[in-house]
């Protein structure tokens, strides 16, 4: 029984490693941008522009 266990372990290990390969890899990503979505954008800054208080508030959804 013990012999069978050792044999099974040896066999499966040898089989597994004989099937195993490893290496290095590299490459290029094209159109890597993916989707960039500005879900919401608000510019909230009070500016003095030609003597006027100027408040800009915007919301944009863009893909």
């Amino acid at each position: 029984m013990r012999f069978h266990s050792i044999f099974f372990l040896f066999f499966t290990t040898k089989f597994s490693f004989s099937q195993l390969e490893f290496g290095i890899k590299g490459g290029l990503n094209f159109d890597a941008a993916g989707y960039i979505i500005v879900v919401a954008r608000s510019v909230s800054k009070t500016r003095l522009f030609e003597g006027q208080n100027w408040l800009s508030f915007g919301r944009l959804c863009q893909s």
Partner: protein
């Protein structure tokens, strides 16, 4: 928005099981996106585990659920807060040509979850907002078997 080119470098292991194979990979990926004349650079560590089917001769088909860990996202003019969800998932599908020790693969990647980061300022002007990015790209990879 215009897409730009990025690159990836890494290591892989492959276990053949009859007509199938499992191929876990670990790679560093850096991609660049262009948005409103601004370049947004994203770096991440990816862990794709491809399940492949050997087809005709050296050609195989594979699909890959990929987990990736976002390292950083930055831009020259846009100031972004750290990415909120560091870990994301994507799905690759592709084909691989294996010629002796060299393998060439072409794959399409589609992000399953969006990466969110808060916009803090643009050109020094404080702005509030949120940017969602989601991978949607083609990659060409070359692998070299070491053993």
């Amino acid at each position: 928005m215009k897409g730009k080119t990025g690159y990836h470098l890494g290591v892989y292991a492959k276990v053949n099981i009859l007509a199938f194979y499992l191929r876990p990979e670990l790679q560093f990926t850096r991609v660049s996106s262009q948005f409103e004349h601004q370049s947004i650079e994203t770096s991440r560590i990816e862990l794709p585990v491809s399940f492949g089917i050997n087809m005709l001769g050296p050609v195989s088909l594979f699909f890959i659920p990929t987990t990736f860990f976002n390292l950083s996202q930055g831009s020259n003019e846009l100031k972004l807060e750290e990415i909120q969800n560091k870990t994301s998932m994507s799905l690759h599908i592709g084909t691989r040509l294996k010629l002796d020790t060299i393998g060439v693969d072409l794959r399409y990647e589609k992000g399953l979850t969006a990466m969110q980061s808060n916009l803090l300022s643009q050109a020094g002007v404080p702005v509030g907002g949120q940017i969602n990015t989601q991978p949607n790209q083609f990659t060409v990879g070359v692998s070299f078997k070491l053993n």
